[in-house]
Each structure stands twice: as C-alpha cells, then as structure tokens.
Symmetry: C2
Subunit: 217 residues, 2 copies
Amino acid sequence: MARSAAVASPSPWTRPLGRGSREGAAIKRDAVLRAAAQLFNEKGYHATSLDMVAERLSVTKPTLYYYVASKEEILFECVRLGLELMRSAIAAAAASGGSAYDKLQAAMHEYALIVTMDFGMCLIRVGEDPLAPASRKQLRRLKAQIDHEFRTLVEQGIAEGSLAPCDAKLAGFTLAGALSWIGRWYDPAGASSAEDIARHSIALLMRGLSPREEGPA
Amino acid sequence: MARSAAVASPSPWTRPLGRGSREGAAIKRDAVLRAAAQLFNEKGYHATSLDMVAERLSVTKPTLYYYVASKEEILFECVRLGLELMRSAIAAAAASGGSAYDKLQAAMHEYALIVTMDFGMCLIRVGEDPLAPASRKQLRRLKAQIDHEFRTLVEQGIAEGSLAPCDAKLAGFTLAGALSWIGRWYDPAGASSAEDIARHSIALLMRGLSPREEGPA
C-alpha cells in the first residue's frame, strides 16, 4: 500500500523479464493499467489516448493490445481494482481484533490512503460513468458492498456504545464521501502528505460520530 | 432552491411563450441545459446523446442547436451553473448576520441541497473531466473560490472559539467532500429527503468541528 499516485512506474518493457512468461505478462498488464490510471488521473479520461499510455511505457500501441482490448476495458479494470483494494482492506480491518470503533477507524484509514493511489484515485476521479451500462452495474455492485461494510461498522459502534446513536446508513455515506473526496483534490506534490490528510479528516469524522461527553477522545 | 433533480421539467416548447422573444429564448435555453443535466445524472454523460435531450423536450435536434452549440458546451454550462449556485449561496450565507459557526452551518446546508439538484448534481456526478483543458481550468478556478469560502468560515469559527482549532484547509475539504458525495448517491425516490440527509450529515460534521466539551451542541 506504499505506492503513491505521483510515481510514474518504470516500464517493465525496459527490464529483462522472461519474455512470454506468465509472470512477465501479468506484470506488464499491471503496468499498462497503472500507467493508464496515472494519465486518467492527471489529464482526465477523455483527454488520454492509448498512444499516450504506450508512450509513457516506451512501447508501441500494438504492444498494448496484447494486454488490453480497449480504453474502456482499461478503465473498467482500473476502477474494479480500486474497488477491490478498498473492499479487501475494509474487510481486513473489520476482521481484525478490537472494538468496532477501532475497526471503523482502521477501515477509514485504509480507504483514505487508497484514494490517493493510482487505482483508488481513478475510481474517484473518473469512476464508472464512461462505461457501458453492464459494466457500470457490475462496478456499482462492488461499491454497494463497500457502503454496506461501513454501515455495519457504524452500527456495531453504536451497539457497543463507542459511537453516538445515529442513522448508520447516512453516517456511512458521510464518511465515505468525506474520504472519497480526498482522491479528488489530493496533490502528491502538495503541502500535506496522504497520511496527514487521512489522520486529520478521520479525527474530525470520529469526533463527529462519538458520544458528546464520554466517547474515546 | 426547491426544484429537485427528480422532476423532469415540462418542455417550454409545449407552452406558448412569445416565440422569438428574448425571455422565451432564455427559458428555452435553461430547459435544454436542465433536461441535459437530468439525463447526464441519470444515464451518465457518455451514454447521453443530444437526440435524447431533444426527445425529452419534444423538439427536433436542429432546434437544440439554436440554443447550444454542442454537448460539451452544455456540460460546461451545467457545471458552471452548479458552481455559480454554490458560490452565490455560500457568499450569501457568509454575508448574513450571526456567528461564523452559524454562517458555516448555513453555507453547508445550501451546498448539500444544491448537490441534490440538477446542475449541482451534474457538477458532482459528471464534473469537468470530459471537457477541454481551457474549460476545465476555468471551472477549477470557480471550484477553488468555493473551497476558499469554506476555509475562511472555518478559520473564522476557530478565531471566535466556536470551532476547535484545526487545519482549516483540510477541514474545509473534508466538509466539502462529505457534502459533495451526497450528490453521488442521493436518490430522489429513496427513503431520505435531501433535507434529512443534509441535516444529518451537517450535524455529524459540526460535532466533529466543535470543541470537545463546551461547543454549541
């Protein structure tokens, strides 16, 4: 989870990688998706062409087509990967020991960091809008699972008394919204690190969720 | 500020309006933009064609071109109008009497409602991504003004002691993010009204911003 959105990864085509090996193919496909996500995040989806992706990786466009069928397929995979990262990070936080309060805070932390990384940022900045209805539907199902995880953690926090009673669904959306938005404005070259931003936003939100007098500080 | 995103407005071409009058032209242009924003919000920008906009208004596509030059121009105007609504609502809240706390809360309320309406929702759901760089830059300048208004209100709240000391820039982004996200998931046919959602999210955020022991409840 250390890779920042700012770093343009080196092209795996410039390193020897066991040409034709299955591992090499997976690494190269990942590099195509990552380079595309970075360009989508910087320039916008529409302004990004496959020529630019090929150029960033120092390969020809026909080479790209060995790994991906189209710009739409790339976007679908980038958004799906962003959602999968979130889903598994939140599930891991929810499965960890500790109180619901701690789990929620850990899940929010993961979420906030993921939206500052290539695929998570692409999920927020571009999202599924440019895709065909069937693809959009599939991605929205994944999103709904994430919303559900947040809501469940809020409900558990209320049940254990660490969070003030509230509408858990609306609270979950408020948290996800505040954290998602970080992916919109986060600038890796800016004054605040992703870690600082995450900590600050989460502190504000957890204070908002906590019981007024006696909650965890 | 009463018009919900759910209501498909009646086409002004079906009512007598003083054909060729300047007022009639402005009303019709607004109807084109509004119908397009509704379709963008429902189906996505890419999946929406000018034929669909014309159909929704019961006019021919050539009639649309009397009011707008292209789908890109429509999106630019929809996003610009959404931002203008926000900017003027926040400026009005900031210029009203009362404490910075009250002004911030009022500005957040306006913001939350605007993102559930046609142009505000289009700003959040589609945004400037599909547009050319010059247009995107212009819209981002407007966005930056809104961020600045929020930050200023947070700074004033800290100065007057109604808000806990914090990084006002990051807090402003967190507020704007949480409220913006409402425009992503708000469903006019859903269980919660825009007003309920706004009140709930804002209560959570204001609690998060308030000093721990002695702030306004």
